[in-house]
């Protein structure tokens, strides 16, 4: 009877899958593409401040991670997953966590470790307990400490002074010999070395310096220096709902509170609160690394605990005077990554209709 009406064509094969029958349209690939888009501003900033070598380094790292992903999956006889773009995200993030002068082969090795050791050994995306890019960075930092901490020459400490300030401008010119060893430090590195000697850092933290830290005109890993670029990328991720505000806000908030307490406790030694927020890799870490969904907890409450933990650990590593590292963001996140399964187990959400605590069921 259907043929006569013409409009009805007999369905050949009907799919009978389980409900729901519609989907919001997100995918792992789409999510990763959004993260890559969000990483464009920090990449641009890296090229602006560190030159074309930054671009080359990003390319090397990304190529290394993607090829490693492909080879690992092939060797393990599993499906090819480079299409989900997660390896590319790891590559770009790793590059943004490296100094621009790092030899290419070391960067490539970092990429191989990120994917092979930190991700594929555990079974690939979703099973890695630690953020692969941060594992790669930690590996490089421990293996190649010299190249990983020699920052490209930058005159970030020079502040153009108006003559009537009364202080002799040449004081800013580095002493001979001192130059070679010290001018290549990051702001946080300065603070740490000074603290070890029980001194104040030899730069003036004023509004010009703040601005330099904010736009990224300073030493540091390629992607971390420009707070502005990271913020633009983070806004994109928030807009695309790849991340929520909870982790960045609680992470940065904890650092701020910690820094404020220090400032109140030891006013002449501690740096201002905004210095701790603007310097180092905090912004990049809080917006792009701690928010890595695979390695942070799966509930809001858990994410808040995770972020607070990251903040406290970051400040402990940064501020303990005898500590080996001037910056603690990557180690803080890696340590909290290890706590993620525990936090997931620990956090219990009050479910709908659950009897209130203490009340008889």
């Amino acid at each position: 009877m259907s043929d006569e009406k013409g409009a009805v064509n007999e369905p050949s094969m009907l799919v009978t899958s389980s409900s729901p029958h519609i989907h919001c349209g997100t995918s792992v690939r789409g999510t990763m593409r959004d993260v890559l888009t969000g990483l464009i501003p920090p990449c641009i900033a890296a090229v602006v401040f560190f030159g074309l070598r930054a671009l080359a380094l990003i390319a090397v790292c990304t190529a290394a991670t993607v090829i490693t992903e492909y080879v690992c999956r092939k060797m393990m006889n599993r499906n090819n997953t480079i299409g989900d773009l997660s390896a590319a995200v790891t590559g770009v993030l790793l590059a943004l966590n490296l100094p621009s002068g790092l030899p290419f082969w070391q960067a490539a090795l970092g990429g191989v470790v990120s994917i092979a050791v930190a991700k594929q050994i555990f079974g690939g995306l979703g099973f890695n307990p630690f953020n692969p890019a941060l594992v790669g960075r930690a590996f490089l930092l421990i293996s190649f400490g010299a190249t990983m901490t020699s920052w490209t020459e930058s005159d970030w400490k020079r502040v153009e002074r108006v003559p009537e300030a009364g202080i002799s401008a040449p004081a800013e010119v580095p002493q001979p010999g001192y130059d070679v060893v010290m001018t290549t430090a990051t702001p946080l590195g300065e603070v740490k070395t000074a603290a070890k000697r029980g001194e104040k850092p030899d730069f003036v933290y004023d509004s010009q310096m703040r601005w330099k830290l904010f736009i990224g005109d300073r030493n540091g890993s390629m992607g971390e220096t420009s707070v502005l670029a990271v913020l633009i990328g983070a806004l994109w991720l928030l807009y695309r709902r790849v991340i929520t505000w909870h982790i960045p806000v609680f992470y940065i908030g904890t650092v701020a509170v910690f820094a404020l307490c220090l400032r109140l406790a030891v006013p002449d030694m501690a740096m201002p609160v905004d210095f701790h927020i603007l310097s180092g890799g905090l912004m990049l870490g809080a917006c792009f690394m701690a928010t890595d969904m695979v390695t942070n907890p799966v509930t809001r409450q858990g994410q808040v605990i995770f972020a607070i933990g990251c903040g406290i650990l970051t400040m402990i590593i940064r501020c303990v005077p005898g500590g080996a590292y001037p910056e603690g963001v990557s180690f803080a996140i890696l340590i909290m990554n290890a706590f993620t399964p525990l936090i997931n187990k620990m956090v219990r959400v009050h479910r709908f209709g659950e009897p209130k605590r203490g009340k008889a069921v």
């Binding site: 009805v8 995306l125 709908f352 209709g353």
Partner: protein, 460 residues
Amino acid sequence: MRVVDAPYTFRGGVHPPEKKELSSGSAAVELPLPDLLKVPLSQHLGAPAKAVVSVGDHVRRGDVIGSAAGVISANVHSPTSGTVKAFESLPSPAGRVVQHCVIEPDGQDERSNELAPFADWESRTPAELIERISAAGIVGMGGAGFPTGVKVNPPPGKKIHTLVVNGAECEPYLTADHRLMLEKTERVWTGIRILRKILGAEKVCIAIEANKPDAIELFSRIDSDEGVEVVVLKARYPHGSEKQQIFATMGFEVPSGGLPADVGCVVENVGTMSAVCDAVLDGKPLDSRYVSVTGEAVARPGNFIARCGMSFRYLIEAAGGFSVSPVKIVAGGPMMGFAVSSPDIYVTKTTSGILCLDERHTFEYSSSPCIGCGRCNSVCPMRLLPSEMACAIEADDIDGAAALHVADCFECGSCSFSCPAHRPLVQHFRRAKGVLTLRRMQKKAEEDSRKKTEQTHGSK
């Protein structure tokens, strides 16, 4: 009556594209009788009705063809006059094999007068009205099909203070309840008054989602009794779920594992209200309903007043047939409906929609491992942890899932809808719930047999 915004809202939920514009503008069309009607004898939750007619019998519209078997069951009536041709075992929309009574209409559509109209319903006792509702085979028409006569007769000691009338229709695509509220406002309202009398409820909340302003407007014009208000819910899925709706209108959480009656509420769908009115005022049993035939694969999406036992094929043809070859036909809405294996499935009392989806919505099923984004956990309206439950179930740890309260899941589908890794979360939970039910039944059977053994031994 007073219109108020819902004072509360549940946490979680999703905003799927509504797609209601496909069919919301088309008034319901009463369909001519087809050559054959195949009436399922189980159109409700609980025990299937027992056939009380035999092949060759002549039946009139409204004659009981299947009588309720047990407490939780419902009568099934003949939707027209004609001859019983056969009994066939066919799949139901939900995929179970159910006995269908095949009736060949004689074209007279002659009514039986088994149930006398209660023109004076206001002077009838609640017991009489409940008996009528049960006799008319009325079940919840929102989807679950729980026998209404049982629901409005709560166990002694449970006082019902509020009747919540569910006109949310939060499922995308479906507009049957919306059209019914527009076209049968008076009947729905009378049904509400009847049910309020039965329950002795002080308050009535007519819950309608904000995306149906015309229906809200119509109800607001009714000269109402004391304590009745229209509660406007924010358009968000699943506001039509009874637990979420009670919370949105009153702020009570129905306890886990409990029923709305535990917090003094009864939730009934607007379609059920209209059916109650038909049964009481006209003595007309529930044998037809509003059905949306919609979706991108249908030529002229619209609403129809379909008799139970009409085939999906017949309704789809009435809607102009397929415009493109459908990839999926769903009984109900896209979030909780059942995908059927062929158009030769028959309308029941709970078929709110026939949704024909094209290939745009039916992607090749390939799910990848959980990336821990936690979206499922934040959209779950029961505030469960779908990601953790699914992990447990994949490791075949059903007890682990039970400890995470998988039994509270009502399969709304918000988690699967939002999962970027396309994980079959609802499917996992359905399996776990099935295993738990099975275990409970086995345990009960074991206990029963043990008791039996003890008794026999004891008597010896």
